[in-house]
């Protein structure tokens, strides 16, 4: 009886795990089933490097290059804003702030990491965008700059929270050793603690990168949405994610336009998968050391 129950329990956990793998395969299958037929009509290079995106014309064109550039621009912008603020805050919390302040700020940052992105989008659209338009006298405040600011603000809690964990996990003995050798606090932080916490910090940045690339609502609401190669950071762009979200509602299921949006999703999936792989590879390599 015992043996039977043990076996049954093992089998159940086994099945649950298989289900998780199945979900991944179903996801990949779902995307490819809908997206791959597009490549009967358009070649892969045409799709990736093509500039025109006219999916509903009589002679349709499917070039995703502008979207790739759009995603690239807002992601880099978000990192430029998010990394210094996130890391700076993390170092401040773990090394400079007193225990009292730390006990308040740390949970607050963890809370902020859970704010739904649509709320950031709302804030960007109705508060920051008009402000920037008026200040700089632009046609529209919905552009790369605004999207970067909002996306950056969104990934600050993610980077800060994870880096702070990494910094706090650096053993006290290492700190004490550095200080006992006569280094100033900043020397201790930048030469000893940060190198020791390197892995976690890079992990946090890669996580922020993944979030920024995959984020839909913020860019959909704030990046402006015109499919063009930007000439300045105050031009509006249309990243991959917002293209999918904005156009999906207008497609006919199974049509070319519909397929092309799934093809964009495949592209996005491959991109984030690659980032995951790099993260894994990086961390695994470090682990061996």
């Amino acid at each position: 009886m015992h043996k039977y129950k043990e076996k049954a329990f093992t089998a159940i956990t086994y099945t649950a795990s298989l289900f998780t793998i199945m979900v991944l395969f179903a996801l990949i299958y779902g995307l490819f089933r809908e997206g791959l037929p597009l490549f009967n009509k358009v070649s892969l290079t045409e799709f990736i490097f093509g500039i025109g995106w006219y999916p509903t014309n009589a002679e349709p064109e499917f070039g995703a290059w502008t979207f790739i550039i759009g995603s690239f621009c807002v992601t880099i912008g978000a990192l430029i804003i998010g990394i210094p603020l996130g890391l700076g805050s993390a170092i401040f919390i773990s090394e400079i702030a007193g225990n009292r302040l730390k006990e308040i700020v740390k949970p607050v940052i963890e809370l902020l990491a859970g704010i739904p992105s649509v709320v950031y989008g709302l804030f960007g659209m109705s508060t920051i965008a008009p402000l920037i338009r008026n200040w700089l006298n632009l046609d529209t405040g919905l552009n790369i700059f605004t999207a970067s600011v909002i996306l950056g603000l969104m990934i600050v809690p993610i980077i800060a929270s994870m880096s702070e964990d990494a910094l706090t996990n650096v053993p006290k003995s290492i700190r004490e050793a550095a200080l006992a050798l006569g280094s100033t606090k900043m020397e201790c932080i930048f030469r000893v603690i940060i190198p020791a916490a390197q892995r976690g910090i890079i992990g946090s940045i890669l996580l922020g990168l993944g979030r920024a690339i995959g984020e839909t609502m913020v860019v959909l609401m704030v990046a402006g949405g015109s499919a063009q190669i930007p000439k300045s950071i105050f031009d509006s762009v249309r990243p991959l994610t917002s293209t999918i979200a904005a156009e999906m509602g207008e497609t006919v299921i199974g049509g070319l336009h519909y397929q092309s949006l799934y093809a964009l999703a495949i592209l996005l999936f491959v991109l984030t998968f690659a980032i995951n792989l790099i993260t894994e590879f990086f961390i695994a390599k470090r682990d061996k050391k």
Binding site: E6, F9, T13, Y14, T15, A16, S17, F19, T20, I21, V23, L24, L27, G30, L31, R33, E34, L85, G88, S89, F92, I96, A97, P107, L111, G114, I115, P116, S117, V118, V119, Y120, L122, F123, S126, T127, L153, V156, P157, T184, M186, E187, F190, G214, T216, M217, L220, T241, I244, A245, M248, G249, A265, L268, F269, T272, F273, I275, N276, E280
Partner: protein
Amino acid sequence: MKNRKVLNFCGNGFLSLLAGITILAISIFLVRIFSLGSKVLSREFLFTAPRNCMQEGGIFPALAGTFWLTVISISIVIPLGILTAIFLTNYGKPKWLLNVVQIAIDTLAGTPSIIFGLFGMAVFVNLLAMNVSLISGALTLAILALPLFINSCIEAIKSVPFDFYEASLALGATKRQTITKIVLPTALPNILTGIIVCIGRVAGETAPIMFTAATFYTRHLPEGLKDEVMALPYHIYALMTEGTHPETQVPIAYGTAVVLLLLVLGVSAAAVVIRSSIRRKRKW
């Protein structure tokens, strides 16, 4: 020597400045949302349906929609997540299967939410003909939350000291008994935190439900799994982008955002409180 002191001072100032900017930016963000949003908050706002082309009335259908989407998806995720985490931490044989499951989890966890939306649309809405409905959306959200929850369950189970495991086996308990009677009860508070974090995440997602469950406007509360539903995050998006009367609809969007924030931050705050009280009570 003097140089080093100056550098130290500057470094300190610079880091404090960065932290200060962060705090300021986030404060402006929160204060702005709450100050604009709280103006429209009222009992009526929470408990009535929208009226007059979404220009008046409340958000009750959206509140109900988000509630049901969350409840259904979380109740799918909990058993699956716990069982998978048990497999990964305690059984994990054959080894290659363990690795494949781990890779699947990591991949899913890093996949953008809009892709889950497309997947849900392709599989649940079209292939399985569930249409745009509560159940399609809940299943999509469940798949999105599954990897997150599995990971937090793994952490929770790993935080149970090996001593307990060993002591239980030494008393003649089987592996299953040890897991169900010692490991899971000990890990329960941490698993609970994981559930709460998932609730916060699921309730706030927009992209996955855009094409699987959400509708811009309905006066009805969901009556069955096959109904289209309104949802708080989608409501905000829809008001901002499809609304035709910004002067009346933007305040409603802010009000909805405050409700959503209170909901999400409320449950997350509960998680933080639970976790810190566990840390304080824990004696092992």
